[in-house]
Amino acid sequence: MWNYTEKVIDHFLHPRNVGEIENADGTGEVGSLACGDMLRLTFKIDENGRIKDAKFKTFGCASAIASSSALTEIIRGMTLEEAEKVTNKDIAQYLGGLPEEKMHCSVMGREALEAAIKNYRGQSTPKRELEGKVICKCFGVTEKDIRQVAIENDLTTVEQITDYTKAGGGCGECQEEIQQILDEIAAKRAKGIESAEQPWPPLSAAEGMGNGTPTPLVANTTHMTNLEIVHKVEEIINTRIRPALKQDGGDLELVDIDHETVYISLKGACATCPSSTATMRQFIEKELRKEISSSIRLEEVRR
């Protein structure tokens, strides 16, 4: 059973503003019966450009109905400029929160609002149109949708993207592509807080950051001498990397450091493990990059 807040239950049992406004100024429709939820939002604008009435009709679960009801309450009285700034977070917060797996209901609300505003401005039909590349074919979710939700809600994992947009929750084939988008966003985020003098190129989407947690890259090697770098690398290997590798019966040895290339030799179980290269890149390199410089490269030396 879902852990709904009292406010969600209240808006589900006593939904506000149910119906459809005749001759509505703006109409927005998202979702479909196939997807399991669908929302039609209609609103009317007064002479001052404010939303004077908003109504909804929703096919969906309790949280979809409650989110729709909350949306209409939130936007009533708003100017379109204000309404445009409403995010799915505002809807979820209005309801005292939604279970993670149900966050897509709040996103559906925001999307319907967007579609209705566009429709009012004569930019689209009531039915929300997919813009750009469709990533999830099962639920019709585009790259733009995923980016917007990820950035607005600080999402970092594919699972979260599924909770918020449904993308990846059907056949699952697009999960890798979603991960790539997330990697890119994470890399951009990281770049965003780097200093202007930052000489190091940002991580490409293909490498590092694979676990989805955006880690600020603090590249401070410019002021480090080679010896300092050696000490730092040794410290990282000893305290963080070696214990983890030893759990899997492996070990590693620092062979040399040449500017930003760290040469290591894998030992024990790691040496014969076919995925040792992957282990190196994903785990060790990430740790080193996090601590020393985003352009640290790792080379394996076979002895």
Binding site: F12, E20, E29, C35, G36, I65, G170
Partner: protein, 384 residues
């Protein structure tokens, strides 16, 4: 508020007789049945009695064919894993698309280990095509695992015929009978089944106990390796009280199966008929003839299952849904999808599953409330 419980395919009320039979084994006779002393040893006799009661309900010829387990899922896993170990050279498994996750996900798991699995489809009424089943049998088929009755729709598969076909081809057959045992007559002395899984809490015994029937002469590999309990077929000190409870539950079920006109089926039929008559665009999912007497799955078009359940919950009515929102996934139930039920209906399916504890008043109350619930949600729906 009174609870109207029509979710008996999920779990059942423990029968009062079962609780009474169990209590002495929690309070006084708490010895270990493996012990040498009388205090412990006397308990073993009660486990033997429970074995007889389980064997009687399913028509097993020997009590030694019954192994007590912790649940239906353990029984399913034990049977399939045991058989795969017995014939490691055979790499093919046949099952259906509508199995319970205990079998379905296990088969997907062994597929990753290199087994080839045939997932048989069902038709729009949830029925298997026996010709297709025959065609899928191969020389390297290690095991066939097919449920006796479906938990969501109640549709009964022709296990007798499947068993005969398997016997002719000398292929072991595992039957997940968790939903069937105690609801329809089962006679394993006449039906050549190799393994059969039983769950206690689906037939008014407590949760945490199940049984696996293993036909005599079957090469068996225990799933839980440990002591010599259950004749070396399932390690771990016996869950004595629950095993005793399962025995009594089986005896009660057998007594209730004997009644000529099944009172549960009559209540179910009244409920189904009443809903179809009073609510437009309501549809029964699955074969209405070959079906468990206690189950009906009804889809209400253009509204969503979770919303229906939560409004029913406001009146104390407990049921289940095959909608995406209730499954925790984003897709409707795999059973309804396999049947090709349109999405407009699959998302709005409600399963009512009755037991002998339901009354005519329960049915009247549900029939009184359902039309209002459905029309309330339809008023909210953007799809007319």
């Amino acid at each position: 508020m009174k609870t109207i419980y029509v979710d008996n395919n999920a779990t059942t009320q423990v029968a009062p007789e079962v609780i009474d039979a169990m209590l002495p084994f929690l309070r006084d006779m708490w010895g270990n049945p493996s012990s040498m002393h009388t205090f412990g040893g006397q308990v073993a006799k009660n486990i033997d009695k429970a074995r007889e009661q389980v064997a009687a309900l399913i028509g097993a010829e020997r009590t030694s064919e019954i192994v007590f387990t912790s649940c239906g899922t353990e029984s399913d896993n034990t049977a399939i894993r045991s058989q795969l170990l017995a014939t490691p050279q055979k790499r093919h498994i046949i099952t259906t698309k509508v199995e319970h996750p205990a079998v379905l996900n296990l088969c997907k798991e062994v597929a990753k280990e290199g087994y080839e699995v045939t997932f048989l489809p069902v038709d729009g009424e949830g029925r298997l095509d026996l010709e297709e089943f025959k065609r899928s049998i191969r020389d390297d088929t290690a095991i066939v695992s097919i449920m006796w009755a479906n938990n969501e729709t109640g549709v009964i598969f022709p296990i007798e015929e499947i068993a005969t076909l398997c016997e002719q081809r000398n292929i072991p057959l595992h039957v997940d009978a968790v939903q069937a045992v105690g609801k329809i007559p089962i006679n394993l002395s006449k039906t050549p089944i190799t393994y059969l899984a039983i769950s206690g809490h689906k037939l008014h015994a407590p949760k945490g106990v199940g049984a696996l029937y293993v036909r005599r002469g079957t090469k068996f590999h225990p799933w839980l390796v440990g002591g010599h309990q259950e004749h070396g077929r399932r390690g771990g000190t016996e869950n004595v009280a629950s095993i005793v409870g399962l025995g009594v539950a089986c005896e009660l079920a057998l007594a209730n199966l004997d009644s000529e006109k099944n009172p549960i089926a009559m209540l179910r039929d009244r409920l189904e008929k009443g809903i179809l008559e009073s609510i437009p665009r309501a549809f029964v999912n699955g074969d209405k003839i070959m079906r468990l007497p206690n189950t009906t799955s009804i889809s209400f078009e253009s509204i969503e299952g979770e919303a229906i359940l939560l409004l029913m919950n406001e009146y104390g009515i407990c049921a289940s849904s095959g909608s995406a929102c209730t499954s925790g996934s984003l897709l409707p139930s795999h059973v309804l999808v396999a049947m090709g039920i349109p999405f407009t209906r699959a998302h709005g399916s409600i399963r009512f599953s009755l037991s002998r504890y339901n009354t005519g008043e329960d049915i009247d109350f549900i029939l009184e409330k359902m039309p209002g619930i459905v029309s309330q949600l339809r008023k909210l729906s953007p799809v007319p």
